[in-house]
């Protein structure tokens, strides 16, 4: 064992001074640090493209991509593509989450339900998004409902999985407190189990949102004429690398934004946690 070995420690008014001077940096540090690596990568990429290390017809330079995005933006199509996709993902996310919360809390809480339904749900979980496409076209046609539902399916599984195991991991001690007060199952669920499994639920939400973005491509193969997934497929079908990369960048960018929103939500709602992250 090494032991804490600092012999003398003198710290005077440490926290107070720190607080005022570094406020500005504190607020922006996150953004600045977060953009370093992406920027470096972008610069390398651009340089490689300029020098000719990467051929433009395979991987166009970032400036070319940005130009493409700006052109779409100027033409007004960008907005409608992004809008359509965001709308689909948002609706699908909403529906998928609701379904996952309902089913997940039932399955997580009632052992019988778990035994009845969980095996089937877990089996469905490994069916790829592309495989659902023909089935959804068959069942629901190619309208907006089938697209949204497909995305909801994608969102459902990680949220469900995280809720179920979050619930099953809830501290028995807390549940017993509810039992003492004669809580019904719904009360226990609402007042103890769901809040206690909130950390896990939040991860599920973020995971689910990620899958929502992934499933949107499969969804927009189903006869869409707008959307980022549509752009991607069109890019692939018409062999336009700049369109492909532009749509990938948009996916990444908007996906990142939605994730950041969820992350903030998670941080807000988990302030009570006595955890590593709240300690900082």
């Amino acid at each position: 064992m090494s032991g804490r070995s600092d012999s003398i420690r003198v710290q005077i008014n440490k926290s107070k001074t720190r607080f005022t001077t570094n406020l500005l940096w504190k607020n922006n540090e996150k953004w600045v640090l977060g953009s370093i690596i992406p920027l470096v990568l972008l610069i390398i990429w651009e340089a490689a493209a300029r020098v000719g290390l990467i051929e433009a017809h395979l991987l166009p330079a970032p400036t070319r991509i940005i130009q493409e995005i700006f052109e779409m933006g100027a033409g007004g199509t960008l907005f409608s593509h992004v809008g359509a996709t965001v709308f689909r993902v948002a609706t699908g996310f909403f529906l998928g989450t609701i379904a996952a919360v309902l089913l997940g809390s039932a399955v997580g809480y009632f052992t019988v339900l778990e035994k009845l339904m969980d095996p089937l749900i877990q089996a469905f979980r490994s069916i790829p998004s592309l495989a659902w496409v023909p089935l959804f076209i068959l069942w629901m046609g190619i309208g907006e409902p089938s697209k949204v539902t497909l995305i909801a399916v994608g969102v459902f599984f990680p949220v469900y999985l995280n809720i179920v195991s979050g619930i099953q991991g809830v501290d028995r001690k807390l549940i017993e407190v509810g039992k003492i007060y004669g809580f019904t199952s719904t009360e226990t669920l609402r007042k103890i189990i769901l809040p206690a499994s909130l950390p896990s639920f939040m991860v599920g939400l973020r995971s689910g949102m990620g899958l929502g973005w992934m499933f949107v491509v499969a969804a927009e193969i189903m006869g869409a004429s707008q959307g980022l997934g549509y752009l991607l497929v069109v890019g692939q079908n018409t062999y336009s690398p700049e369109l492909i990369i532009a749509s990938i960048c948009l996916f990444a960018g908007i996906g990142k934004i939605t994730d950041a929103l969820l992350k903030i939500l998670a941080e807000r709602s988990l302030r009570w946690q006595d955890s590593l992250s709240n300690q900082r």
Partner: protein, 303 residues
């Protein structure tokens, strides 16, 4: 898909759903110019356009009643029909030369040079059939080359990055590769392409034969228009498919809009394609290709 429900009088659909596709310039013109809307508005029938991103999607949409008319390659329609899809091909929207064998390797100048090489193609699609027929014609067999199953776009990428030696290409990828990298189309033969066909669902055709006629009528109108306005057609294609005008022009040059009535010529080519598919095991060996093609191609709606 609850689209074409008969309402009141049985002989009139409420709504007709057409597909449009980047591989069918005629359909793009039709959608852009609004010929169909003009004609059907008088009868109080709604027209809706749905984008097909490939033959397989168009056929899937037909199967699931999501569209009434769908554009596909002839061979694709044949394969679907062989699996009992209730469709009929009633119209030829173009005779495209959309596929050829492409290579960036200078030493590959003919199909014979492919022996022992890697060739990318998408299983079951026109370029695949084209490749098989080309190999067969040159006296090689399918086993002499290594066919790598890649999606069209990925095939182009694999060709350019040297992963494969040749590629059974498809427009507009092919046009673009040709134009930008100077890849060479070392084997071309328009007659190995299985035409672009417009398919209708059988139950729609049975219920509303008159409206099949009318759809063909507007398609004819669009075809005439694109023959007369090649420049504008290229612009429409470039805009819709989000490709360069130049690429659109190359693609259009390889489309022959002269014939539109399905006939013996088409039947022969599609049958040949069917035989190749059958010998490759893509179509079940018990299938009677002749009969299937016969059931598929239906020129009766032309008047």
């Amino acid at each position: 898909g609850c689209s074409s429900n008969a309402s009141g009088e049985a002989s009139k659909p409420k709504k007709i759903i057409l597909d449009y596709a980047h591989y069918s310039p005629t359909s793009l013109v039709l959608k852009e110019k609004g010929f169909a809307e003009k004609l059907f508005e008088k009868e109080g029938i709604e027209v809706e356009f749905v984008l097909s991103q490939g033959s397989n999607k168009a056929l899937e949409f037909l199967n699931s009643k999501s569209v009434d008319f769908g554009s596909s390659a002839g061979a694709a329609a044949l394969m679907a029909k062989a699996k009992n899809s209730p469709i009929e091909s009633v119209y030829i929207y173009s005779k495209p030369e959309w596929t050829a064998l492409v290579s960036t390797d200078e030493t590959i100048k003919s199909v014979e040079d492919l022996k022992g090489k890697k060739v990318a193609a998408t299983l079951g699609t026109d370029p695949y059939i084209f490749l098989l027929r080309a190999i067969e014609e040159s006296g090689l067999s399918a086993k002499d080359v290594e066919i790598i199953n890649l999606q069209h776009g990925d095939g182009a990428a694999a060709l350019l990055s040297g992963e494969v030696d040749a590629w059974a290409g498809l427009d507009p990828h092919m046009a673009r590769v040709e134009k930008e990298v100077g890849a060479n189309l070392f084997f071309r033969n328009p007659d190995f392409n299985t035409y672009g066909v417009l398919n209708v669902r059988q139950d729609f055709a049975e219920k509303y034969p008159k409206y099949v006629n009318k759809v063909i009528e507007v398609y004819e109108e669009a075809r005439q228009w694109s023959i007369e306005n090649p420049e504008e057609t290229a612009e429409i294609l470039a805009k819709e498919a989000q490709i360069d005008l130049d690429v659109a022009k190359i693609q259009l040059e390889r489309n022959d809009f002269s014939a539109s009535v399905p006939g013996d010529e088409q039947i022969a080519i599609i049958q040949a394609a069917g035989d190749v598919l059958k010998s490759e095991g893509v179509i079940d060996s018990k299938t009677n290709i002749e009969e299937v093609v016969d059931n598929l191609i239906n020129p009766d709606f032309f008047e």
